[in-house]
Amino acid sequence: MLAGEHATAETEASIRARLGLDQPAHLQYLTFLSNMVQGDFGTSYRSRQSVMDHIAPAFGATLQFTGAALMLMVVIGIPAGILSATRPNSWLDRIVMSTVLIGLSAPIFWVGIVLMYVFAFRLGWLPSGGFFTWQGIILPAVTLALQYGAIVARITRTSMLEVLGNDYIRTARAKGISQGAIFYTHALRNASLPIVTTIGLQVGSMLGGTILIETVFSWPGLGRMLVSAILERDAPIVQAGVMLIAVAVLVLNLLTDLVYGFLDPRVRFG
């Protein structure tokens, strides 16, 4: 396929030999495994450059905007959920919950397109894409944060409401502790475990969501590289990209587990 339609049998054979595709499948796999654990993901079928040279900058770009989105998600999602929980069924709660429903139900890439249309094309406030100016990161990060922030807001609201129904909250109220102190010292700390779990799980899923958003905003990250590598059948890049994201998810899950220990003194690692 790489050689083109009019390739001779010899050209094809030589390309196969160069890429190691003339070996039996199980040998190819063993070679792949042993190279991978040594940090060598092979060379791209297309560019003939080392896969690491492709992936390292792309991974950096993805981390940059996922990090920005993660910050937004926490900064917007948790306060929105707390506000909702302070006055259930108020108009504020309804606005937050409707936004949550839309965030969960709208195709994330389409939200990106709508934001791009409004803020880049209509209002002209922000660039529609582009990696090299700091404004370029705003729209992709906001898009990603909207969807995952919605999930965080919902779990924050649910777990706050649950904690607020406990007896010790009533005791605190009876002792005359102010509303604000009850919320932040008594309720939020106890409600934080499910919130942290959700954030940890969502960051993994966010790395998947970046694939769509990077395509919308032409962000030179891992997701967009992965999609074009699949369409071009550049297997080494696909393998390395999938592997890298999977490892990142594992590390994040481990970090989430470690954070439990700080939040809940009852959790001990043995």
Binding site: L101, I102, L104, S105, A106, P107, I108, F109, W110, V111, I113, V114, M116, Y117, F121, G204, S205, M206, L207, G208, G209, I211, L212, T215, V216, L226, V227, I230, L231, V238, V242, I245, A246, V249, L250, N253
Partner: protein
């Protein structure tokens, strides 16, 4: 409370009560109507499209919305209304088949793991954990990259991501039901394993399975749109809402409705599925029974 002589509610009575509880929230009623409309349009798509969704008229290229073309025409002069209608069929097909795969495969695995337990349970459920640990889109993309992009492979790939959720749900229901007295009684009476599973345990899984299926259908429709948006799902010229959004993005500056309208359609259907699923869960929850 309406009861008959035995003090038990009749079947008809409990259906009426269930319906009243389900539609007590007007949003649930509205989402039910939206879903009925969606099902109708998807089922009869070939008969109700005003014009051919595949063949365009280049003279109508980028025709703005008008009486004849309420949503205008796309870059090949194809009627957007007809393409949206045809796209509903693809969305429903992918959603139903993908969720079906998850339900059948995941459900069977969950029931087997829960009923037999032991090493089999450990192996099956740890495998499910591994699948769940992957971001779903990455998993779908990995499967598509091996099988190649097409409608069938999209359904298969999306279906795989639903297997662990059904396996977990059904396993937990089976685990709680297995030790109940009536199951022990059935076993004492000599009922075989298949009979116990089908007649005594399966009925308890129905309610929660219906709720999970409604919400999964929404996720599957979003997944199909996303995959097709990336060019890894339904291939042109077959109309898919995701592909329409992708094509529309190229003309966002001048014809924004070309991508905004298909996205709105996806959102409305998925909102309806989510609201209806929430409504079903509340109505089926025995703890909230009045």
């Amino acid at each position: 409370m309406a009861t008959n002589e035995t003090g038990m509610r009749t079947r008809a009575e409990s259906i009426v009560r269930f319906r009243r509880r389900l539609f007590a929230n007007p949003l649930v009623l509205w989402s039910f109507l939206v879903l009925l409309g969606f099902l109708f349009i998807a089922a009869f798509a070939p008969y109700i499209t005003p014009s051919d969704p595949l063949r365009g008229n280049l003279a109508l290229r980028f025709a703005p919305p008008s009486w004849e073309l309420p949503l205008g025409a796309d870059h090949q002069g194809r009627d957007m209304v007809s393409r949206l209608i045809a796209g509903s069929r693809v969305a429903l097909l992918v959603g139903a088949v993908a969720v079906g795969i998850g339900l059948v495969v995941g459900g069977l695995l969950g029931i087997v793991a829960g009923y037999f337990g032991g090493l089999l349970d450990v192996v099956l459920m740890r495998t499910m954990d591994i699948i769940l640990a992957f971001p779903w889109l990455l998993l779908v993309i990995a499967v598509v990259s091996i099988l190649g992009p097409s409608l069938t492979n999209a359904m298969l790939a999306i279906g795989i991501t639903f297997i662990p959720q059904y396996a977990r749900l059904l396993r937990s229901v089976v685990l709680t039901t297995r030790e109940q007295d009536f199951v022990q009684a059935a076993r004492a009476l000599g009922a075989g394993t298949p009979r116990i599973l089908a007649q005594h345990i399966a009925p308890f899984t129905v309610a929660q399975t219906i709720v999970l299926t409604t919400i999964s259908l929404g996720k599957a429709i979003l997944a199909e749109a996303g995959l097709s948006f990336l060019g890894l799902g339904v291939q042109p010229p077959t109309p898919s809402w995701g592909t329409m959004i992708a094509v529309g993005q190229d003309y966002l500056m001048t014809q924004p409705y070309l991508s905004i309208v298909p996205g709105l359609t996806v959102m409305i259907v998925v909102i309806a599925l989510n609201l209806f699923g929430d409504g079903l869960r509340d109505a089926l929850d025995p703890k909230r029974s009045p």
